[in-house]
Symmetry: C2
Subunit: 341 residues, 2 copies
């Protein structure tokens, strides 16, 4: 196969070379079975010899089959989202569907703009993170009849799909675990909860479960920090200088937990002897820091894969894939233990 220097090769050129109509070429290229074997071969050969590449815009304009899916995540920089996108992209690519990726920086307003752009490009489905979105975003998707999938959450909002896990339950798991270890004084460093339903739910799940277990939660020092190490270190400093000092800290992300560990290491605070630390996500760093992090494993890649499968399926199948609650597993490593007496 060689590419001719002639500027543009189009369907009709292939048809001419294969001595058939454009309709036949189109059928062959779209795997329509109503074409004779010989015709099919001639078309394929002609297309290859001309180096024909279909024009996606023309197809999209004509048939609403854009082979395009969109995703909007808060940021690509955070591995937890990158991994989901990786799962999504890989599964989609296997079926010849491409992924347009946009970021919202945790800003609902910006998310709306990105959603609009995705709609402009004619994406067939949009993958979103979390349950909370601008009402305009939802109205837009409804008006333009673009289906969507919510990830990292399992609560749907009427239409659309939700493929993820229960953040509230996950927070409760952390609470139950640390309480069962015998801790009495707890602290928590959440992500920024403004506009982030997942962070809020993790916190509330943690606090409510503690309450249920008999802990007075207004004594539980809770601090917000962006998902980055330096912020976490500052939060750790505040938390560990408070009196009485907590013996266990639950972090809304492994990044934050890694920051806490780093702070403790520099200050000579022994983890887990002096302080138990539980993270969230089970990122690669969880087993790279010392001591290794006890954390809650989020099925990030799986959410991406399943979201892809949802977008790939037809309307009937979608009914059965609309709500999928995945497990969040507690992974116990070295950063947690019974409290020092």
């Amino acid at each position: 196969m060689t590419y001719p220097t002639t500027k543009k090769v189009k369907l009709v050129d292939v048809a001419n070379l294969a001595e058939c109509s454009t309709a036949t070429v189109s059928r062959v290229l779209n795997d329509n079975p109503r074409v004779s074997k010989k015709g099919r071969e001639r078309v394929l050969e002609a297309a290859a010899s001309l180096g024909y590449v279909p024009n996606g815009a023309a197809r999209a304009l004509r048939s609403a089959n854009t082979k395009l899916v969109g995703v909007i995540i808060p940021t690509i920089d955070h591995a937890i989202y990158a991994i989901m996108v990786a799962g999504l992209q890989e599964r989609l690519a296997k079926s010849g569907v491409s992924l347009i990726i946009n970021t919202s920086a945790y800003d609902c307003e910006l998310e709306y703009k990105q959603a609009r752009i995705l709609v402009e490009h004619g994406v067939e489905t949009i993958v979103l993170v979390g349950t909370e979105h601008h009402s305009r975003t939802m109205e837009l998707l409804k008006a333009k009849a673009v289906d969507y999938v919510l990830t990292y959450t399992c609560s749907t909002i009427g239409s659309g799909a939700a493929i993820g896990f229960d953040n509230t339950k996950a927070g409760a798991v952390a609470a139950r675990y640390l309480h069962s270890l015998g801790h009495k004084r707890f602290g928590m460093i959440t992500g920024i909860t403004n506009g982030n339903d997942r962070a809020r739910e993790r916190r509330d799940g943690f606090l409510n479960k503690l309450e249920e277990l008999g802990v007075t939660t207004n004594s539980v020092h809770t601090i917000e920090s962006p998902y980055e190490v330096n912020g976490a270190i500052q939060a750790a400093r505040i938390l560990l200088n408070s009196d009485p000092r907590p013996t266990a800290i639950f972090c809304g992300s492994d990044i934050i937990a890694a920051g806490v560990i780093k702070f403790c290491n520099t200050k000579g605070i022994q983890v887990p002897h002096d302080l138990s630390v539980v993270g969230f996500d089970n990122l690669e760093i969880a087993s790279l820091v010392s001591p290794q992090l006890t954390t809650l494993e989020v099925p990030a890649r799986q959410m991406g894969t399943l979201a892809a499968e949802y977008t790939l399926s037809d309307d009937i199948q979608r009914q059965f894939l609309r709500e999928q609650e995945l497990d969040v597993k507690l992974v116990v490593r070295e950063s947690s233990s019974t409290p020092r007496l």
Copy 2:
């Protein structure tokens, strides 16, 4: 602004409501200045009240202005690529351009297929990683007149742009540094070099510089490992069981270096006292592991941003942006020192 339940709003609907022609609407929406202020306002108002969203496919078909850029990276899972993509995407989004992301899994054949798909979607430019690509990929881009940018490298191949750094030089920097510390016995764990020119150049730059400094490089034990912790741990085991054992190891990535550190920590090998370790990339983990990693900082985000600016610029500007060699900086932390006597 409310979205009507009527199925599809198009340009002509906006024109009707604004009582003008479709041409005027098109001009307003494309910021063509040859429209009266009053007309512009009426159009904008009409568009908003109808909840009009342009059809990208139609525009693309008609004008070759697709507002789409494509990127093909080996994998999204590796932070070094995720960060570049983040820089690329963020800069592009500011100019209303969307990004289609595809992965090649370090496979040139797959990369070609992904490139074809990007061309189908009508991307204006393609961002690639490294210098080495399948000849078919390059022919395709040439035949379809799609410009491209090579990243993580600064050697162009005739046409296209190259925005990155010199991997050979970077390898040499590591060699010079470790040699200057007084090390005599070196080891290296590279990434998989097959189909990865960057990994190869780093290795060759390291070895050649050592040779230049008087080290017999066939005594330098070199092992390949995928960019993941477990592979690195195995490689570390082999390297550190060899006799004579190296006193310094240069790793092709921080992920690998982190694996080496982890192995040493479990085996009681003191870093840097017993072994100096130098990484590559300066990822977040570099300062999270203990001891913190000495490493070479790769300008990943900057490459993304600059690649975006290249794709955003016109043909004339592009001439000046075609070749940009960025600096790779040695970041000395705790994992390297003079060898034990």
